[in-house]
């Protein structure tokens, strides 16, 4: 369809070429390990799970500088640095590296592909040991909390008892929240970005459109497909819908307006159409349709307060929080973050909150965004310097 779009400010570094951009980290690699299995919330017992991960920077002798970065729906373990296979920078290379928002000169940074993913960690595309065939739709229903269990198993493997920080945006932000609640004693700082404690009807609706695009593609075949015959078209449409929700009206108007695509075979094709086609085409080369179904289902099902009222769920939280939303993010609107801030503060948790002015919508955390980078950088460095001086728990008990 379209040629590569000359985008510099939109979308994920994995799906675009930014002219002249080079990662300060050089070539970086990911590794896959087989870890003891987990029992999912739905009751399925994995005998073992493969986890694809990457680490950047050095673990301090006190093992107190580990930061776990949780990726969003379409991310993977290749966080930063140049991928040796694709030659592309990792999805968060703008913000992870020497002297960057997450400073690899100071912190030991860990990123892993999520459970249910499709780049090395156990997911629906993995072989089911009981049948010797791909799981497909026999893969168990998984949750955000299951993903976090697997990340915890990875930390055990790496010998890291306590995280200095867990950071994530979007789906990764849900994981960060689950960390603070499910592993309070292992989480010192929690940084949920452009996320929420539970999807609202609109967020579920957009995911359902994506899922329907995949399962109504004839090649989906009940989830039982193998390349080259797989529901690429359905997945591409799902990604196109996703991309619209990641942008903003203003960003799209500025970037594309009503311009036509010059090099398109159809002279009537708008630039925005070409851009979405490119995003769809690029995505199907690196993502598994069944993973898309399982992961969107997991984030739709996520509810941080599924077990009890907020004040009860948050009572055990020990982490200090930095919460960031973006003014133009209509997929995860700022009021969702503000609700979370209030729930945390009313539970006595120390929270710094910013609603950063940005015109790039939900994608604001992915792009080169200096005000965002500065805040994350200063917060992490400040907390790391202050950590030994602070009491173990940040909470204070309100006087009655």
């Amino acid at each position: 369809m379209a040629t590569e779009h000359p985008s510099t400010q939109l979308g994920d570094l994995q799906d675009q070429t930014v002219a002249g951009y080079r990662s300060a980290l050089g070539v970086t690699h990911t590794t896959t390990v087989t870890l003891p299995g987990i029992r999912t919330q739905s009751g399925f017992q994995f005998e073992a799970v493969d986890v694809n991960f990457q680490t950047l920077g050095k673990l301090s002798p006190a093992r107190d500088n580990a930061i776990l970065v949780c990726h969003g729906l379409s991310g993977n373990a290749h966080l930063a640095g140049t991928d040796p296979q694709t030659g592309r920078p990792g999805w968060w290379d703008f913000h992870v590296g020497p002297g960057k928002a997450i400073d690899t000169d100071k912190f030991f940074v860990i990123a892993s592909n999520t459970l249910g993913g499709c780049t090395g960690t156990t997911g629906p595309g993995s072989i089911n040991p009981r049948t010797g065939k791909r799981f497909g739709m026999d893969f168990p229903r998984i949750t955000v909390r299951d993903m976090v269990q697997v990340q915890a198993a990875l930390l055990n493997y790496l010998g890291i008892e306590k995280l200095f920080a867990v950071i994530g945006a979007s789906m990764g932000g849900m994981q960060a929240l689950a960390w603070a609640v499910d592993f309070p004693e292992r989480t010192r700082i929690c940084v949920p970005i452009a996320t929420c404690t539970a999807h609202n009807a609109m967020q579920i609706a957009f995911n359902e459109i994506g899922r329907q695009a995949i399962i109504t593609d004839a090649l989906w075949n009940g989830g039982d497909y193998s390349e080259p015959h797989f529901p690429a078209h359905g997945l591409a449409v799902a990604r196109m819908v996703g991309h619209v929700t990641y942008l903003s009206e203003l960003a799209m108007a500025r970037k594309f307006g009503r311009r036509r695509q010059q090099d398109a075979s159809d002279p009537h094709q708008f630039s925005i159409e070409s851009y979405l086609h490119h995003q769809g085409d690029s995505f199907v080369k690196r993502f598994d349709p069944n993973s898309y179904l399982y992961l969107t289902r997991a984030i739709d099902e996520f509810d941080l307060f599924e077990k009890a009222a907020p004040e009860e769920v948050l009572r055990e939280v020990q982490a200090r929080f930095l919460i960031i939303s973006f003014s133009s993010d209509w997929l995860y609107p700022p009021p969702q973050s503000r609700d979370l801030v209030r729930q945390l503060k009313r539970a006595g948790v120390a929270v710094t909150y910013l609603n950063l002015d940005s015109e790039y919508g939900h994608d604001s955390f992915l792009i080169d965004n200096p005000p965002f980078a500065d805040v994350v950088h200063h917060f992490l460095n400040g907390e790391y310097t202050a950590a030994p001086k602070r009491p173990a728990s940040s909470r204070f008990v309100p006087e009655i």
């Binding site: 009313r346 006595g348 710094t352 400040g382 310097t385 309100p398």
Partner: protein, 202 residues
Amino acid sequence: MNYGVYETVEQWIPEKSRVLDLGTGDGAFLERLIQSRQVVGEGVEKDATLVARCVQRGLVVHQGDIADGLDQHPDGAFDFVLLLGTFQELVQPAEILREAFRVGRQIIVSYSNFAHYRVRLQVMLQGRTPVTHSLPAPWYRTRNLHFLSVADFESFCQDTGITQSRRAFFSVRRQIAVLPNLRAETAVSLLTLSGGVVIPPS
């Protein structure tokens, strides 16, 4: 313009108090309180650039307006709620004070005195909206919504059941003890709610 205000507030706040600073700006004063009085404090600020500077200082800060900043907190979360320099800019000052008394036991407020003699002279002799040290912006650029005097604030407190436990008044460069309504440019008050009197909704 703020001669004496910050020093006074610093003296009024006992060590290790819990402090919520509304309109904290770049966080310089909150940082000073944390260092000199070991308070457990956090700030509320609307301006993103200033919030970023608070983060740089290592402060806990909330980006939002004053009402939003108060709304985040449970009852009685703080010993002191600070409203320094912003009081005359609030759309509904009584509502804000009521909410501040929910969140904190005591409030420290500072405001500009609109009955200072220089202000009176400018209005009377020149017939113009005054521009002074404590009211530096012309009428079309000022953020002040309410032009109150020391006497006005006193009757406001009486009407709303607020006790001014401590007061201090300042001119440009000295503390004022006598005739504050005429001679003070800025006023600072430590407010408490006594006798269970609640500020009536407006």
